[in-house]
Symmetry: C2
Subunit: 194 residues, 2 copies
DNA sequence: ACCTGAACACCGTTCAAGT
DNA sequence: ACCTGAACACCGTTCAAGT
């Protein structure tokens, strides 16, 4: 079942970057293998020598983004108290979602073939957050309990607020006007004032 | 700018129902105008006399689903204490998301042309939830504060937990094993024990 | 007014052939 | 081993023509 990861050739990386750029510009429908090939300077079906199909190319784009997210989370852990690191991580999550909606939707979208590479990149990113949550609990800044479950609560709120904001379903247009960052702070305030 | 809603002809309703069935069976890609037409018994471009394009047909599917959601929310308000109604509404939200992933993703997905019909259906559904939240606040069962914002917090969590569960990003496979319903109850417990 | 069949442009994927 | 060009099946959309 398990396959060793292919080496990252120059072309491989170029295809992923071209696909990511097209995704950002016009969504998944704009990521055509013909345009990807054209931008990299190969024929429209050269990608098939590196990826089984279009979905696998997009999965590689998503995995690269998840690795970037994990590295960003690791950077935030240094130089901040644990609970503040958690707050900054969740804010960064929402900020990136709003700034790059197409990448956000791709990364957390539906994957028919559960790529192992994708799953492990996501696990790594979440594990960093779990560590900071655990440290914040040890500091008495977050309520005790299963840290995985508390992390899931925090992540679910940050994710849901971001996704609803993107689709315009977060609040009525004139009213309230709470953005994802506000809701993250609301939840943390409720959790710290227990 | 504003256009009067077209009358709901038999064919119109049939097209929407056929599109919804195809969506459930195989996602948005399976909703081809050719197959929709075939199931209803018309040619593959008869739908263009009722909807400007494929996206407008899918928007009508989403709007119908949002209206169903609003009616379901209204039913839950009767016969329950306010805070319990809120809890049941959020649980129903997550249950429907898990049971009908494609419809969930469509309903809360990206809409390039902000259909007024879609927006008002969503506003109606959320307004019912806001009313129950307000009543629960008056009962002293939920913390005081802007009810729109508190509703956004609750909805964002239910939405995010559902969406992450669907994409398998809610928690590591073996660990924690919190499902959306658990997280909803966790949040409500934190809010009521203030 | 509403529908049909043909046609167009486009895309993912396959394949025989090249180096 | 990797790439190319042609080809296939499919789809959204348009359009001239029918009733």
């Amino acid at each position: 079942m398990w396959e060793p990861p292919k080496p990252f050739t120059i072309l491989n990386r170029g295809l992923i970057e071209a696909a990511a750029a097209l995704l950002e510009e016009g969504g998944p429908a704009a990521v055509t293998l013909r345009e990807v090939g054209r931008r990299v300077g190969v024929s429209h079906n050269a990608p098939y020598k590196h990826f089984a199909d279009k979905e696998e190319l997009l999965a590689a784009v998503a995995a690269a983004e998840l690795r970037r997210g994990r590295d960003s989370v690791l950077r935030l852990r240094r130089g901040h108290a644990a609970v503040e690191a958690v707050r900054l991580m969740l804010h960064a999550y929402a900020r990136e979602a709003i700034r790059h909606p197409e990448m956000f939707r791709l990364t957390y979208g539906p994957w028919r073939n559960g790529s192992a590479e994708l799953a492990s990149a996501a696990d790594d990113a979440r594990a960093s957050l779990v560590q900071s949550v655990t440290a914040a609990q040890a500091d008495g800044e977050l309520p005790a309990g299963d840290p995985e479950r508390l992390t899931a609560l925090l992540l679910a709120l940050a994710h849901g607020a971001s996704d609803l904001a993107l689709s315009g379903h977060l609040a009525r247009k004139g009213k309230g006007h709470a953005d994802p960052a506000d809701l993250i702070d609301d939840l943390l305030a409720q959790l710290t004032a227990h």
